[in-house]
Amino acid sequence: MTSDRAGDSPLMEAEELRFRSHNGDVVLAKATFGPDEPLAPPFLAARPARLADGTEFRQLRVTGTPRKLGYERLDNEILAGLRLHEMSESVGYPPEVSRLLGYEATSADPFVLLEPYRGESLTEAAQYLLEAEQHQFQVSLLTGLCWLVAAGIAHRGIAPSTIRWDGRRAQITDLSMSTVLGAPREAIGTPPWAAREQRPGHATGAASAQDDIWATGRLIFYVYTREELISRSQIDEWPAMRSLLAGVFSPPEDRPTARVMLSRLNAECPVPRALDDHSRLDAGRRRFYAVRASKHPGMATEADAGDGDGPGGSEGVPRESSDQVSAQANAGTSPTGDTTGEPRSGRRLLRRFSPLSSLITGGLAVLRAAIVTSVVR
């Protein structure tokens, strides 16, 4: 295996770095850097480095012109890293996703400091991953996806080059193409891994937690079979893939969630439900709607308004709800046996329209059976 460690490369002269740690502290430290790595995310340069106290990290900087895209990509990395830290504060940082150590986001030469990635990318590792390791690879990859969803992040760049394997766990890296769930979709990602809704001419609507499921499913198939997925019929030739990937290449709203896919592997998503369901802004939103109702008697209360689409409830909040309903329909069974499994807005809708929801759920199952999703690339 290769390593990103600065110790493997000749180090350049020490530079003083001023940056913010993930919890906002301003840090001044001397660092030495290795040479730029040959492979780096688009619009960025990457190099290994070491602080004077021995801490090793990987630095991402903007490269090339125009620099606007590089700035945006670094911002994506920072936003996702901060959200993952905030989301996991009470439960411990998940090893299945890369970890932000610090950042400088205001100057003309901003940078991001990341904990060195583990293992090696699937570009190489996929060639030798053992059959006995497949289950653990799939579980840890989907677990990483669960954490991203809990942080309200769509990765949008899942591909062999961005997923790593260290023999024990997958690690989702390179969050430079990520965005917040609910943000407008863009044409982004790496063909053929990017989902249809991320391709030029098809990028409409809002980024959802299910957008990454396509690429994840494709990657799982590739690592398991070492075949490029060209036709849906290939999936049917592999019984393990047929059940795990059911619905994965459907339209985004009909795809299973990472949580549901984990249940198909008899594994559980480690993200506590409370993290899925909570936003520190909820109390403020309730107060807003109370003021609004006092000015305009008869207007929607918070409970109603909170069901709306968009960030008035979607910021940082994974919108698994309706997808979970459809995912269960896809799988034909309840993934966890948890009848209250669907978070916030889905629960509200189901409470209001419970007889209708049964019909919808049943109807979706029938529809799913009828949907032919032969296009997988």
Binding site: A108, L281, P311, G312, G316
Partner: protein, 346 residues
């Protein structure tokens, strides 16, 4: 046609079209009255009157000097008078400048709204003095000059399928907004106020922005609260908090639709953000005005190397969401018409 009120002296002008027309003579550095040739054709009259001014009659001699307004200011009925409120360094001028820059770029057209400057010379001066230095050269603008009594720029706004309506944009120096004096007469006739919040000045348990409170008190004293003036509260310089919820989402979501429900969701989020900082005092205009919205906006997209004149934006200037507060305000003040526009701010 309804009477027009002079925003400088507050005189009521009930025969706008009957007032003599004037033009600026650069050689004399003064206004000279336009004499229409006898028998001039309609086209000739239109050409001669292009860029003309009217002299406010100011019958009570409120102002010491004569003052002039663009002839188009009152030609289409009472203009919508909009003002920017916020402390010094809150970024009012940068927000206004980025808005005008977006209008110049054609940004309002994306909402189906046409517009043209009412006073081309004034507009050109604003473009040269503010918009280009900020947007093209990435330079920090100087603070708003004190003692300016008229609008910074004005547009004739033509919504799709709706009547034309003049819209005047007033920017007043932050220091002046904390005093009650003659330099902000427009506040007495303003239809809408854009309250500019600087994230750097939010403080838990704070009393809010002095300028907000002073201006709201002025507006209250004229009997226009709660329903004769609208408010748009803008979390300005949002790039400073671009990694925080819900700002991250909104900065990435710049839809070009007049969608009242989306304005409500954004308002709820910004209110909740202020609430989470213990800074609901900055949301006072929302509580006091029947029609009000809250917004996220970033006039520059990033921070300057040095604050104040002479500073530059090292990453260039990329305004985000700067037109949405204006579009909401156009809807709340009746410039935009139709069922959806009427729902904005409620």
């Amino acid at each position: 046609m309804s009477e027009v009120i002079c925003p400088i002296c507050l005189s009521e002008i009930d025969d706008w079209d009957g007032l003599p027309r004037w033009r600026w003579d650069s050689l004399q550095s003064n206004y000279v009255e336009i004499t229409m040739p006898v028998g001039a054709s309609r086209q000739q009259r239109a050409r001669i009157q292009r860029g003309a001014f009217v002299r406010c009659p100011d019958p009570s001699h409120v102002m010491h000097d004569e003052h002039y307004l663009p002839a188009d200011y009152g030609r289409f009925g009472p203009p919508a008078v909009l003002g920017f409120v916020g402390v010094t360094r809150s970024g009012k001028s940068h927000l206004l400048t980025a808005m005008v820059g977006e209008i110049e770029r054609g940004g309002l057209l994306e909402y189906g709204i046409s517009s043209r400057p009412i006073d081309h010379a004034l507009h050109r001066r604003f473009l040269d003095g503010a918009v280009r230095p900020l947007l093209n050269e990435g330079r920090v603008l100087p603070g708003t000059q004190e003692g300016i009594v008229t609008f910074a720029d004005a547009f004739l706004v033509s919504p799709e399928g709706g009547p034309d309506r003049p819209v005047a944009l007033f920017d007043v120096a932050g220091g002046e907004l904390t005093r009650v004096d003659d330099t902000k007469q427009f506040l007495d006739i303003a239809d809408g106020l854009i309250f500019v919040v600087d994230p750097a000045q939010l403080s838990a348990g704070g009393l809010g922005d002095d300028t907000f409170n002073t201006v709201l008190d002025v507006v209250r004293s004229t009997g226009r609260l709660p329903d004769r003036i609208s408010a748009a509260i803008v979390l300005n310089k949002a790039d400073m908090v671009r990694f925080e919820d819900p700002v991250a989402f909104w900065l990435r979501s710049d839809s070009k639709a007049l969608d009242a429900a989306e304005f409500v969701r954004e308002s709820a989020d910004v209110y909740a953000f202020l609430d989470s900082m213990g800074a609901t005092a900055w949301a006072r205009p929302y509580q006091e005005c029947v029609k009000a919205t809250l917004h996220v906006a970033s006039p520059t997209g990033g921070a300057a190397l040095e604050d104040g004149e002479g500073g530059v934006y090292p990453r260039g200037v990329m305004p985000r969401r700067v037109l949405r507060p204006l579009v909401a305000m156009l809807a709340m003040t009746g410039v935009l018409t139709g069922a959806e526009a009427e729902r904005v701010g409620i």
